[in-house]
Subunit: 242 residues, 4 copies
């Protein structure tokens, strides 16, 4: 039997505790909603953690047993302790843990550290229509996805998105108000795979849309560790001459 992919869904979980509109939209928290739809898959084993958990829900102990980390943060990026950022970064770069930052996590400490740029962008909260166009239909994350995904109401993000060129650009969003955005971005960093995925404002309902759920499921499978060799770095002897 194939080994299950161990997923941790980490959520800031403040909006859904303290703001009526977010609480109404995601009564179980965003992490709870994501956990629920992932748990239907027989090849996943899913846990959740939040910012207000002990150790902010992030420790070496916990992460060493995680294959893929899904991450949602927004207003409290600065509260995340630097040690947690180091732990996550090391798990990705050294050990190949997959990392799926969602939506406003573009501005999280960990994503900015991994990218090396500001990761800033244009934005507004105007309940605009978003249409995510699939750019690489041959990619594993395109499995079962239609040509485009529509979200009736979403927060708007717009270019320039200050990120490194993605290794693969999967989705480009069209917004009613006139912007475009690189909404699905694949990277390899060290041993780890990263997939930034844009949708998911806390008072809109993107994570209830089956196609959005399918993208995240596909991304988990794509981002799971590949079982390649840990590179031996540092001082090295020459090979014998033949």
């Amino acid at each position: 039997m194939a080994k299950k992919i161990k997923v941790l869904v980490w959520n800031e979980f403040r909006h859904e505790k303290y703001e009526e509109s977010a609480k109404n939209m995601y009564p179980k928290g965003i992490h709870g909603t994501i956990r629920d739809f992932l748990s239907n898959e027989t090849d996943f084993e899913v846990r959740t953690a939040t910012l207000d958990d002990p150790q902010q829900g992030i420790s070496e102990e916990l992460l060493k047993d995680i294959d893929v980390l899904i991450y949602w943060g927004h207003n409290y990026h600065d509260e995340v302790r630097d040690e947690a950022v180091e732990i996550i970064s090391k798990r990705i770069i050294h050990d190949g843990m997959g990392f799926i930052p969602l939506h406003s996590s573009h501005e999280s400490k960990i994503f900015r550290k991994l990218m090396g740029t500001t990761c800033l962008l244009k934005w507004r909260e105007a309940n605009e229509k978003e249409r995510l166009w699939l750019i690489e239909p041959g990619h594993p994350i395109a499995n079962g996805i239609p040509e485009y995904i529509e979200i009736e109401h979403e927060e708007t993000y717009g270019e320039r998105f200050d990120i490194p060129t993605p290794d693969t650009l999967l989705f480009i969003s069209w917004f009613d108000g006139g912007e475009v955005f690189r909404s699905g971005c694949c990277y390899i960093r060290g041993m780890g795979k990263i997939f930034y995925f844009r949708p998911g404002h806390e008072i809109c309902g993107a994570y209830y849309i089956p196609e959005i759920q399918q993208v995240i499921k596909n991304a988990v499978r794509w981002a799971a560790p590949s079982n390649g060799p840990i590179p031996i770095l540092g001082k090295a002897r020459p090979f014998p001459r033949t």
Copy 2:
């Protein structure tokens, strides 16, 4: 004194001869309009050629003296003789001639040959608004370009655009009718640089817009040959052991 960049603007030149609306928009032909604005640059030396010229305006003799080829074709791609396609391809791949296919040239024989894919896309003629968002403001082709360029009325192109992932993606277009499109795509192929640039429907006036002109001028300078070494290919002797 620096050597001038020798530019050939090649145009199918049928719409502007035989169709009233295109003739009115581009009385000198699209090639004439492009030649005019390029000729203002002191570092360019510009010529034009068209499909109905002797040898369809494309011969080894002519191209061996050209640094950058700008190319506009649409309804008569199939008329272009295969020999001409070979001549252009060889000049790009072997000799490093720059190549700037415009608009409907996405479906030209030469572009499809260079890309290896169908280069098909979605399209409609609906006079929609196009907004080209600049994705890489640090790239040489971004010189003097604003954050976005608006074209009031244009033919619409939409993804999926069946091309290889660009080496650099410079522009993404937003269209009024709901599509997005990768409108500025840089490639290196062999010794040559290629820049596909989307705008330029024959009855809209994109080539009169100063920012569009600036993109094309920048692209000519970027695509000019780099004077690197011609690789020696084929059978090779080993290096002596030390």
Copy 3:
């Protein structure tokens, strides 16, 4: 139960019929050897075909039932009929069939067509040592692969290799005689995934090396179709305004 990946191993199969040294090295033909080690995998269903088969072993009928095509050709590329090249290309670009050209297939009609460049390189037959360094240990094709793979005696290939920049560069080879070579190159073209893999001279024994076999097994799984949407290309209506 998961669907099996249907693999076709196509081989020119002339060296191993008519040349003693190749026949001794691969008595079942290169295709037979590859089939044998792939057939140990329970998720593969493997067939073979060769140039001297009816229809050169390539027809629409046959390929429409194939998920991944492994391809070895060398001295008789020109004999492959253009129709066969079209059939393979269409299956890759339109339908997402995976394609794994091996060794001297770099110069095959089909690979050159897909790449758009000459695909030429430096080479010599000098029984040199090759050491393939793994560049992206986080990639799925790195599964179970060591840091480097050594081949005691191989034909030498050297840069410049006239190909488009790979979407992902997986292996770089070091050769005893002083060259380097991009030996493992991933591309997406249309709906299909392509993995060029260098080793496999007909009189050396690369395909008997377990790590080389493992790379090819990994590549088959990586290149299998992703079940993304077939893009709808051509004339398209605008979306209704909201």
Copy 4:
């Protein structure tokens, strides 16, 4: 008259002060040697700075007048104050200053910050032969460069080099002792262009080799700011509907 490119050559400058072998090789310091050969170019205006200068030779005041920063560091990366790293990073990302880290600068704070990975590698000091193969002869940095550059004695670096996939891979090194290395790596980060170039051990003489000098000159021109638009990031209003 075209504006000159303002170059700052920054050097740790400890080896050449305190170690006999490095002092003998570079009596003016590595920065002095690089300054000398760059100063022959009429389009460059060159300054130098070192770690033991006031403010470690790096301040906002100084950098705001610099177009391209060449950087050599090795044993004292940790001494570079975090404020200096922030200043350099901001000038690159926000303002488009070019950045050319050389040799052991792969492990500098600033390069690691920009890359987001460990940037570690294999190495040894064994006076081996290095042969840098040019992989993209059509790139501007290939101007006037031969197919390969040989360095008789150099420190050896080997893969795995833990960096993000370069936007363009220009050079791959072959080393006598059996390793390969991605020796010339182009990146765009924010508004800025980055070119990592491998050669330059403090007791070998790489910076006296004309072809190595030519690569650095080309890289300065390539990395100079492109005069694109500073993106407007943050809250944005929708465009008016038409």
